[in-house]
Symmetry: C2
Subunit: 537 residues, 2 copies
């Protein structure tokens, strides 16, 4: 069976997906566009790394085989194995482009129903096969890549065949949804009911509900209910020890929340198969405005006042001067605050006016034509936002180092964090690449007690050393966040790449508890080993 | 030391507290008032049970003694032991009135700083002394009463000497607060900073921050951030295995939330010693209105529309016709919805108008003089609300059975739940007491996906059988909630009394995880045994 070349058992309707880079292969940047982009980065390569054909890839031999009763769910096809080797971090893309697929899983499973997940886990636990739960593979933290090296085999468990909304409750505005459902399919199935989850991470098209839940994904809303956690009414999880299902409730104070144990467990404790999610009516009233600031600290103060006002804007995105310049939305040195308000029920203009007034109180100037009722500017921004990962891939093909990292800290710490990142990560980039980094910042989410800043770092790399250079820069970023007592991640998860920061950040006793939970739920230690914590084997 | 009668080591400034009933002994109802109340309940007793003098109580002998280095923190005084035997459930009050104090702890400890908590736990773990964490003893679920029977001794750990706000961060609106701080002291210490926690459970005067955190208390706000959980930025917890402290963050997606493990752990995993809490500016704009409904189902629909509107009223309290009549606020058969809006930042009249319009759309009629700007009506309601536990004690002295239980369910289930509680708990009351129960309902909190209904049950009991009768009625209530798939508690915690419902409600695997967490953090099994789950000894 090592040479299994029959067609994959994945669902026929499954969309084509890039095996090496982001999303839809048809949207990858052509070589000329890659080169044009790289021309903007002094010191970048002038030819694009070629994408190797799948047939040319050297995959390690398949070491295990599924029992006959499960064979129809499992693929050893090279394309499936190559496509499930990595997530979509910069270092993943570069390694794939280099044809480095030593970490490929032996097999990829495509369960169609929960019973399949149970049976596959039963087999894997008995056969010492590590299981990597896989939604759509958009992890940027090494969350779906096996690195442990100690198991008899590795199975990537692709949930994308479990993609249905199973039940809706219109009166409570909730739905029971299978974990493998991708963002667009989820919204398409809710639309006839007039409902929406309104959880729009940047990966929306290429990530699943189960992935969002397992990684505590952050969505569209800038304030209030930012993480998927708060939209979750109950979870159903298959573990090697059995199935856990929580009671669907609007709120409860009965013991510690069982759902909060699995939210963020990143596949180490079980595989989420379905969830009751809290939904919303589709918004019909929308309004947005942009406000310009000469001084970034004044803009930060304005955002803090807004975050503490109780007005809960749907959008509250602050771009620092570098980010604003890169986006082409403002003159040199100007910070831009984009505000958006929406409601399914009542007009929102007066609330937007209150928000703009707060911004003005802190020295902001509403941009021309603002406030506006959304429309084309928001649409253009959304397109650019969804396009960014493809641009990152194009830069990777030009050996340009590109890294985004996001965090959260309290307001009292932010000014110091902002300076430290620019100073210390900038120094690391100079040390590693010899060049000056472009380091920009925006706020993706804001809370009454602090912002979630998102940093973009771009610098020219050396062909052949991209991964090593990226790793050093990433290490500096993680170190700086730890020194500043900011979280190693606000919504990108921990995976394997963020472990150095996470190990320092979380209470040691809590790691002991997670290990104890794992011994209880996954006694054979097969589920996503190395993510979040190490376990003795 | 069994006869230690020296003065208690509790703080001199500690307020006098009723040892048998609610709160301040000076506010207990005089006998005549008890009798007048009971006259409203056909079949009630006509004389009040006397309150036994402490000197007359027969307490079990003290079996253990603290080491010399800790003796100054520990009391074996009968008044301390009697006052720490029970919480404040109906059955607790009746047993205390009957002088039944067989469950009294051997000792009561009054730590003054975290080091004391560590040392006391070290001693207790080595001496097989069970430790019952105790804030101010307002538990109504047997949360502070030792029932396990298997330990060498029992220590009640009273945190009320650790009552300070240690640090404030005005810019992030947060404070680091010791767990033993009572509600009024907490607000008094925040007031000079212009800040407030604004968490006002009914027990506010006689409960502590640590108790709120350990039990996932519900506060003042009817919507949005109802539980203390969402106001918590980080926790510091002393466990027998060491101290766990989480990083203070406005939001994070780094692994499962460590705080959510301790929130609701009810003293079984560790003793919370301090927390960083998210605060708010003190509100200056307030407005409220009452709306009357002829039909309760229409009122429920109105509340659902409001809960799903995104308008987040601070108050949204719906009284069913029985509750409204008892409160004297409406004519027979009328349901009353009380709405309140408040803000520290912007006028709220337009938002109140939107809420009232929604209620009117569903058939509601604004009451005379409504909307109003708060003031006396709200103040009168608040006084009555805080007085209720004293009234309950007065009824207990007249052998009237009085039970309140609260829950939450999704909107689709509420109509059936409401009928089932009135039918099945009503039948149980008739069976047990031979009388027709008064069963009223109000919503204390509402969410987009469902309400938190709070039921009051009043019926005449038989002197000497009050506890047995109450237990049967409580069992019927718990059974009914379970059958209706409603939570056994929304904000009163599980303790020991709610175990039958909790054991049925929570996933079995989650209980296994909690036991594994306990083996990790409390290997000697001394912390609050029997709460939430059983452990092998």
């Amino acid at each position: 069976m090592a040479d299994r070349t029959s067609s994959s058992p994945r669902a026929d309707a499954a969309p084509t997906r890039s095996w090496w880079g982001w999303g839809d292969p048809a949207q990858a940047l052509p070589d000329a566009e890659c080169a044009a982009l790289a021309a903007l980065v002094p010191g970048a390569a002038d030819t694009a790394l070629p994408v190797p054909p799948i047939a040319s890839l050297e995959l390690p031999p398949v070491r295990v085989s599924a029992p006959r009763t499960l064979a129809h769910l499992v693929s050893g096809d090279p394309a499936d194995r190559a496509g499930h080797t990595y997530g979509k971090a910069y270092r993943d893309v570069v390694r794939a482009l280099n044809g480095d697929l030593a970490a490929a899983p032996d097999l990829v499973a495509f369960p169609r129903e929960e019973r399949d997940v149970v049976d596959l886990l039963d087999w894997a636990a008995g056969a010492d096969v590590a299981v990597i739960p896989y939604g759509a593979g958009s992890s940027v933290v090494g969350g779906v890549e096996y690195r442990a090296g100690a198991h008899a085999g590795v199975l990537s468990m692709d949930l994308s065949g479990m993609d249905r909304v199973l039940e809706t409750d219109r009166v409570s505005r909730a739905a029971r949804i299978q974990a493998g459902t991708l963002g667009p399919g989820l919204e398409a199935q809710l639309r006839p009911h007039g409902l929406t989850l309104r959880h729009f991470p940047q990966s929306f098209e290429f990530s699943t509900l189960g992935g969002w839940l397992a990684t505590r994904a952050g969505g569209h809303y800038a304030t209030l209910h930012t993480h998927i956690d708060d939209l979750t009414a109950s979870l159903r999880v298959v573990t090697p020890a059995g199935v856990s299902e929580s009671l669907r409730l609007p709120g409860s104070g009965a013991g510690p929340s069982p759902d909060r144990l699995f939210l963020g467990s990143e596949g180490t404790l079980g595989i989420i198969t379905e969830a009751w999610m809290r939904l919303q009516d589709r918004p019909v009233h929308k309004a947005s405005a942009s406000v310009l600031f000469d001084r970034f600290p004044a803009a930060v103060d304005a955002v803090r006042a807004i975050a503490q006002s109780g007005l809960h804007p749907a959008n509250c995105r602050l771009l620092d001067p570098g980010e604003a310049a890169l986006s082409g939305v403002a003159a040199e040195g100007t910070s831009v605050l984009v505000l958006g308000v929406e409601s399914a029920h009542h007009p929102v203009e007066s609330r937007l006016a209150e928000l703009v007034a707060l911004a003005r109180d802190h020295g902001g100037s509403p941009a021309d034509g603002s406030p506006a009722s959304g429309g084309s500017a928001a649409g253009a921004w959304r397109s650019a936002f969804l396009r960014m990962p493809y641009v990152r891939d194009g830069l990777a093909r030009m050996s340009v180092i590109s890294e985004t990292f996001e965090t959260a800290c309290t307001w009292d710490r932010f000014p110091q964090l902002y300076e430290a990142v620019r100073r210390d990560v900038g120094a690391a980039v100079r040390e590693v690449t010899g060049a000056k980094a472009l380091i920009n910042c925006r706020f993706t989410h804001v809370y009454p007690d602090g912002p979630a800043p998102y940093f973009t770092v771009i610098a020219p790399g050396r062909r052949g050393s991209e991964v090593a250079m990226w790793d050093e820069i990433k290490a500096a970023a993680i170190r700086t966040l730890g020194e500043q007592r900011a979280t190693v991640t606000h919504h990108h998860a921990v995976g394997r790449d963020h472990r150095p920061g996470y190990d320092r950040q979380r209470p040691d006793l809590f790691a002991d508890v997670l290990r104890a939970a794992k011994r209880t739920l996954d006694p054979a230690g097969i589920l996503n080993p190395g993510v979040l914590f190490d376990t003795a084997r």
